[in-house]
């Protein structure tokens, strides 16, 4: 949770001599897409060739590819691709049962109650590993477009992320070689991007409808301070559902049946584009490729709206829940910020406008708005000026007292950093030790709160019960790291412990993963680039093989020979470990095939005139 302080007179003179010249960026590590952005004087822009990087990671063999390339693999080799791993951050096998909806994960049998392992081509990977691959890719993309090394970032997380999920996100960054300046809440970042921190006081709603998840947050801005006062959401509601709805309609209109997941994925790719075009057009008319045939299909915006009506209404219901949770009236909300690609849909905007009785804020690209806010915050953190964001402690912290009750020491919503102490005493004559059980939560009974740590203060001089004075101090730093100390005041005996949020990956394991990646750093980059090139080449070869099967008769013997020769050369290069060689051979093959591709398109055209359908012409040309 975050509070924000707006500093009106940010010292102008300091601006030019920023103390550290490190470049700091903002990262939106999303469930469906991820974005990296940089801010200069409060103006943000997204970085990289794939500005909207699909949060997809494909492991072919040992190394990972991310984004568009992983999406290509999704159609062909979906068993190597991971998506929506954000939902698994900081979770163990016992938590996953609570996640509703279909889960696209292949869970490795060695998973336990603290940690979920996923199966990547036989190799065990965690959500932290996969997220770190996405972060590495973002970092690389950004470094390429800035021609500068990036070391530091502000990363956004959902407001409802718990300590474990936040710790997991930080570890993923560490593995990617990124120092996290601060994790900030996504709705707060969106509000920052819209400059609501410069606005007058009021209550704001952030409506975030992404690919697979929906979140609503209510923020309160008061005397220059931002506070998240309520959040609600649905982890299985989003644009993907809308794509599915169009697929179902198409299948029923065309009187067809989907037989496997590959067919479904192929259709989903097409309906996603249809959905997007219905944002600006009133009707979509065209061909749908299915089972190597092309079908006429049309859908009007009204029909689309009927399909998604129920889902959109569900999101509105969740908004109402959040508003009532906050104890506010919906009329008290001063502005509504739209986040997530699905908020481009006019029907979504209209419904949100109707519910809140006002036009929502949409002038910043809803896919980038969160990353922009993070970038602005990163800029002000590196300069040590500008808008100061203050965290609050989201859950009360305390210790167990007699009878299994909880004595709260730092209440929830307390501004951090903070240190608070309370005095306790012994309850037995001659007692020389005191057990301290550190707890988190709002409940009065210790067994209903989350246990964070145990330690014992020993060596208390024997005294009558009630005489010893044991001062217990809870200290939270700006990142929410808790240190608990206990001190017997008459003797000066002291004991302290650092309480770290854990989620199954021990510090030692993270350390080892880091060391491993340093040790292999050179080898690493080399192997990664090589495997990326190999994967790309493999996709190309697979597509070509299909094309030759269906249209090989179009080729002269000499042409076919040239292609076969180029294929053999590429395959040989792929067996070797020279990445440039793979790339060059792939380019050569592509060039040789260009005539073939043109012939196939021509055939497809004439076949279409004769009423025949040819499959995947365009795709194979692109390959």
């Amino acid at each position: 949770m975050l509070l924000e302080i707006n500093e009106p007179g940010a010292s102008e003179k300091q601006k030019n001599k920023s103390p550290k010249s490190d470049v700091a960026v903002g990262i939106d590590l999303g469930t469906t897409n991820s974005v990296i952005a940089i801010s200069k004087n409060g103006k943000s822009k997204a970085l990289g060739d794939e500005k909207l990087l699909a949060s997809l990671v494909s492991y072919s063999g040992k190394k990972a590819v991310v984004g568009k390339k992983a999406r290509e693999a999704l159609v062909k080799r979906q068993d190597t691709v991971f998506r929506s791993v954000k939902k698994l951050m900081g979770k163990g096998i016992k938590d996953i049962k609570k996640i509703s909806g279909w889960l696209p994960y292949r869970i490795h049998r060695s998973s336990n109650e603290n940690m979920i392992y996923l199966d990547a081509d036989g190799k065990k990977v965690t959500a932290v590993d996969i997220s770190s691959e996405i972060l590495k890719k973002l970092k690389k993309n950004a470094e390429k477009s800035l021609s500068k090394k990036i070391k530091k970032a502000v990363i956004t997380v959902p407001a409802y992320f718990d300590d474990a999920a936040r710790a997991a996100t930080k570890d993923a960054a560490k593995l990617a070689g990124i120092e996290v300046l601060r994790l900030i809440n996504e709705p707060t970042a969106a509000a920052l991007a819209y400059g609501l921190d410069n606005n007058s006081e009021g209550i704001y709603a952030v409506y975030d409808l992404g690919g697979g998840t929906f979140d609503i947050s209510i923020l309160k801005m008061e005397k220059g301070v931002f506070r998240v006062i309520a959040t609600a959401g649905d982890t299985s509601l989003g644009g993907d559902d809308f794509d599915h709805a169009i697929v179902m309609k198409a299948i029923s209109d065309l009187n067809q049946k989907i037989e496997d997941e590959d067919e479904l994925n192929l259709l989903l790719e097409q309906t996603k584009k249809i959905k997007e075009s219905l944002t600006s057009k009133k009707i979509w008319k065209g061909k749908i490729k299915f089972k190597k045939k092309r079908f006429d299909f049309s859908i009007s915006r009204n029909e689309f709206e009927d399909l998604i009506n129920q889902d959109v209404k569900r999101s509105l219901k969740i908004c109402l829940d959040a508003v009532s949770d906050s104890g506010l009236d919906i009329s008290e909300i001063k502005g509504v910020v739209m986040v997530g690609g699905s908020t481009r849909i006019p029907f979504v905007r209209e419904n949100v406008a109707k519910l809140f009785g006002q036009k929502p804020l949409t002038n910043i690209d809803p896919d980038f708005v969160v990353a922009f806010g993070a970038a602005i915050q990163a800029e002000s953190l590196t300069r040590g000026e500008g808008t100061l964001l203050l965290d609050v402690n989201p859950l009360s912290l305390g210790i167990e007292t007699i009878g299994g009750l909880v004595e709260k020491i730092i209440e929830r919503n307390t501004l951090i950093p903070v240190a608070k102490s309370q005095e306790f005493t012994t309850h037995k004559d001659g007692q020389t030790g005191m057990k301290i059980h550190v707890l988190q939560g709002e409940r009065e009974r210790a067994d209903l709160c989350r246990s964070l740590a145990h330690f014992e203060l020993s060596g208390i001089p024997p005294m009558q019960a009630g005489i010893a004075r044991i001062k217990v101090t809870f200290s939270l730093d700006a990142d929410g790291l808790l240190t608990v100390s206990a001190r017997e005041e008459t003797s000066g005996k002291e004991q302290q412990i650092e309480v770290k949020p854990s989620y199954g990956l021990a510090d030692k394991q993270i350390e080892k993963m880091l060391m491993d990646s340093y040790k292999n750093a050179k080898q690493d980059i080399f192997e990664r680039l090589l495997s990326e090139s190999r994967l790309e080449a493999q996709i190309m070869l697979d597509n070509l093989e299909k094309a030759l099967e269906s249209d090989g008769d179009l080729l002269e013997t000499s042409e076919r020979k040239a292609i076969d020769k180029a294929v053999a050369q590429l395959k040989a290069a792929m067996k070797g470990s020279n990445r440039d060689d793979v790339d060059i051979k792939a380019q050569e093959l592509d060039k040789i095939c260009s005539d073939f591709a043109e012939k196939r398109v021509n055939r497809a055209l004439s076949d279409a005139l004769r009423g025949k359908n040819v499959d995947e012409v365009v795709r194979s040309k692109n390959a």
Binding site: L388, P417, V418, A478
Partner: protein, 188 residues
Amino acid sequence: MKKDVAAAANPSTYKMDYFKILGVEKKFDLDEAILEKNYLLLQNRFHPDRQVSASKNERIILLQKAKDINAGYETLKSPLERAEYLMQLNGIKISDRELSKNVDSKVLYESMEMRENLEITKDIEEVKKIESEVKNKIEKIYLELVNVFRNDDFKEAMRLLIRGKYLDKFLEECRLHKLKIQKENNAA
């Protein structure tokens, strides 16, 4: 930056009470606008996010200062906590357990009656009405506290503080009760 470190590390300022840290007059009816203004000013200077060029040691000291500023601000911002803190500075410590022991029967009877009324209420507007009545009562306690603190009447201050704490807890119960009604209405 150096000057800030010196101020924070100076032993004579280290044991400052919250009123001194936040630069407000040491009294119950302090100027809340000045408290707010000073808090933002101080946090802007001492918050760890502002220590871009500080050394590691400087950071540790400044962090302690930032913690004191936050703790002090939150203590002084809430009239009930402020009252409790003032009593503490005058050598009167009260723990939650003592509070429940020292409560007089009038206060207990009052809160029992209010709770019974709340339980049977099924109408949000009705709860809001109860809430505003309780808020008025708390406001009155604040006004009375101003006077008793002026006269250093800590015994009476204690009595008022305990009643205030009971009423404050009851407000939280009202909030939860409102949520319950809203959930029931939404489900229906």
